[in-house]
């Protein structure tokens, strides 16, 4: 815990949904749900209008639809989110060189490294007010909630207190009073399991947690967790703000619309995921020693199997080969609904091969039979709701919905007023997907769409940040 309130936490309000509302004027002020729209999708973000109907993140899209049937259900445009996130992170880095992004829409900023003259409550409040204003302007109308405190724990809790568009500075010395009435789940690391254990010993709030001795806490929740929790309950948190959090693993996973049984199809999918993972590794100039396969079966049981190599690799075939070996250890005969491949034990070098890279080429020669099946499983809907499109005569717009050979498009952009809706045949040659970066960004903005260094890419999981999008 610091003497001055110099840790700032910023959290963009309903981030994905807010970007959609910005770019789709007709959705402003209306419920918007971003997430998987397929049979098994889950909600990534709901706009505040949708939250009023009880729609929450991580809820199944089916449940969200029943609670809020008139909401716009969109699949999400991650390029756009990454671009906005990059803008925000750049702003934060202008404020202080020490910025710790937690995800696309959330970061800690160390104001002690910002060279501020005045770190009093009034001083940092003014800094936060300016930041919120700059953020609103730079992102074309998004809001962020800011919390400032003497520790990460307090700053993060504070940013949530007056959401949306909040600003809370917790004065030094008042931290414990702030925490005491709160439920224990405000403390990071206290999930449903720990909360349940605490509930059994009569602890619901932080104040009740404070009354438990360290020894007893260790008995209830275990050694490592208990010690940390004991300190957190006293707002005693000296975790530093760490810039450039290093990725611990690189992974991809996919959920399928039907349970997959065919072993060759599964292997073909793993090969593709291995290719995706190793491509990301190579882009990040990383390699890894441990290959993990994650399988969720028809009954929702989730299995992970991993193997560690003698030396780190970024080779697609090596990762694919191990992934195939690993899935053979899981009984997939009942059907697979989710499959993932990850590489961890990251390093910055690879063990070169004496034979060059020509050896295993013959391995995948028998694949073409499965190609079609793989394409069927992995093919996204050609016109997914929310995606940006452009029509030869009507100009830029976005897919409002599609089905039965028709696709409906609303012709509007961030800069226009709500536009008209028109319906076309799905194979209309005049209608094409619109690449990111046109119409949405002012022409003088440099290089849109490149994720800012340090912002974990979707799938590049940093600690505490494993929430799949």
């Amino acid at each position: 815990m610091r003497a001055d309130p110099t840790i700032l936490h910023v959290d963009l309000d309903a981030f994905f949904a807010a970007v959609e509302q910005r770019d789709k004027p007709s959705l402003r002020g209306k419920p918007v749900v971003v997430g998987g729209v397929g049979g098994r999708g889950v909600v990534a973000t709901a706009s505040y209008e949708a939250r009023a109907f009880g729609v929450r993140s991580a809820m199944s899209t089916a449940e969200a639809r029943s609670r809020c049937p008139h909401a716009a259900f969109l699949t999400g445009r991650f390029d756009a989110y990454r671009e906005v996130s990059g803008t925000v992170m750049r702003l934060l880095r202008e404020l202080s060189p020490l910025v710790e992004p937690l995800s696309l829409d959330e970061a800690f900023v160390d104001l002690a490294a910002a060279g501020l003259d005045d770190v009093s409550v009034a001083g940092v409040t003014e800094v936060a007010r300016r930041l919120k204003r700059d953020l609103h302007e730079a992102t074309g109308g998004l809001h962020g909630s800011v919390g400032i405190g003497t520790s990460k724990l307090v700053a993060k809790i504070a940013s949530d207190l007056e959401k949306p568009d909040g600003l809370v500075v917790v004065p030094p010395g008042t931290e414990r009073d702030l925490l005491r009435p709160m439920r224990v789940t405000v403390i990071p690391g206290v999930g449903p399991a720990t909360a349940e254990r605490l509930r059994r010993v009569g602890v619901h709030t932080v104040a009740e947690l404070e009354r438990i001795s360290e020894d007893e806490l260790v008995r209830v929740v275990g050694q490592a967790h208990g010690k940390g929790l004991y300190r957190m309950a006293r707002a005693d948190d000296d975790r530093p703000v760490v810039a450039e959090r290093e990725a611990k693993s690189v992974s991809v996973e996919d959920t399928y619309d039907t349970d997959l049984v065919d072993r060759r199809l599964l292997e073909g999918l793993l090969d593709r995921q291995a290719a995706k993972v190793t491509e990301r590794l190579r882009k990040a100039r990383l390699s890894g020693r441990t290959v993990t396969v994650k399988v969720r079966l028809h009954d929702f049981s989730t299995h992970t199997r991993s193997l560690t190599l003698a030396a780190p690799t970024d080779n697609t075939r090596t990762v694919a080969r191990l992934a195939r070996t690993l899935i053979a250890e899981v009984d997939t005969s009942g059907g697979v609904r989710l499959l993932g491949v990850g590489v961890s034990g990251l390093a910055d070098w690879i063990q070169e091969d004496l034979f060059g890279d020509t050896e295993e080429a013959a391995d995948t020669a028998d694949e073409p039979l499965a190609e079609e099946a793989i394409a069927r499983v992995t093919r996204g809907r050609p016109w997914s709701p929310g995606m940006d499109v452009e029509h030869a005569t009507h100009g830029p717009g976005w897919v409002w919905g599609s089905g039965r050979g028709r696709v409906t498009v609303r012709f509007e952009t961030a800069e226009t007023r709500p536009g008209p809706v028109k319906t076309f045949s799905t194979d209309d040659p005049d209608l094409v997907p619109r690449p990111r970066g046109r119409y949405d960004v002012p022409p003088d903005t440099p290089e849109a769409g490149v994720p800012e260094a340090g912002v974990p890419e979707a799938g590049v999981a940093a600690p505490d940040d494993a929430t799949p999008l």
């Binding site: 100039r285 990383l286 390699s287 020693r289 003698a310 030396a311 780190p312 970024d314 080969r321 191990l322 195939r324 070996t325 034990g345 990251l346 390093a347 910055d348 070098w349 690879i350 063990q351 070169e352 091969d353 004496l354 034979f355 050896e359």
Partner: protein, 380 residues
Amino acid sequence: MKFRVERDVLADAVAWAARSLPVRPSVPVLAGLLIETTDDGLVLSTFDYETSARATLPADVTDEGRALVSGRLLADICRSLPNKPVEMTIDGAKVSLTCGSARFSLQTMPVEEYPALPEMPAATGTVNSDVFAAAVAQAVVAAGRDDMLPVLTGVRLEIEGASISLLATDRFRLSHRELSWEPGVTDASAAALVPAKVLADTAKSLTAGSQVTIALSTSGAGEGIIGFEGSAGGGVRRTTTRLLDGEFPKVRTLFPTEHLTLARVDKASLVESVKRVSLVAERNTAVQLAFSDGVLTLDAGSGDEAQASESIEASVEGDDITTGFNPQFLLDGLTAIEAPVVELAFTQASKPAVMAGARSMDADADLAFRYLLMPRRLLS
């Protein structure tokens, strides 16, 4: 079946035969150890359809017969017996074992269901058992362990007249050992791909006698087997194993024909240094070797993590060079070299290095064993 045998002789033979028992037998009887009594004494055998082991040992045989008992249990029992003669008899569906005042009664398995052991092929030649064990131990260091690449889990054994070559590689390093032997016919010429693990275990376990007989049969299509026979405990130990299928890569040409840097280092110092600096490596970091005039500098660790560095004396001829290796692969090669001095030959930092031993800093390198190691490539 009834016999009496010395405890040490029995325990040693049972332990030897039980080595090749399958961990998860595909058929229950394969977990068994076959006990047979003949005029010549006692025969113990195990077989898992890949590898067979057969030990003969002297015993006072009163009654001839055969019985199949759990190999692991028998091995555990024999290991713990007091040092007194052991008597075993078959008693209905049980085998009873008596040693001093200790008595065991073991369930038997259906001996008629036990598969016949493969015939030992005709002898191809003999080799000094200690030389063979040492050579195999060096060669198997580089063998692969990945069952998805079965060919690389084998040691390529090439017989050419009076010399044998052993080659193994896991794609990252390559070991090559030459040794001489006494072939049955002077123009013997054959090649076989022997499972590395079986070869290593077998060579190590046959050092009690002075000679090992190698018997190779590669006539059949893909169904070749190799047999090894040595003596121990007053009897004969014989192992056969099925050869691996597949084409072993052409690896001899991977050894570079020239070098630009030749360095010599005291082997023990280098091993110690590599172990020390790689302490910071958390198993994911490579160790960097920089050779320049008279000094070898080792570095490991990177950036803001822990780092280590150390310099040792080296004789360096030719260009300065900086390269890096997986520390474990480097140590595997160094420890396989028996000589007190190691010679490292380099062409370029990105090309494989050749390691060999030498008796002293001035002596010629001993090229009977060479270890070729591919360096690491930094990604950033």
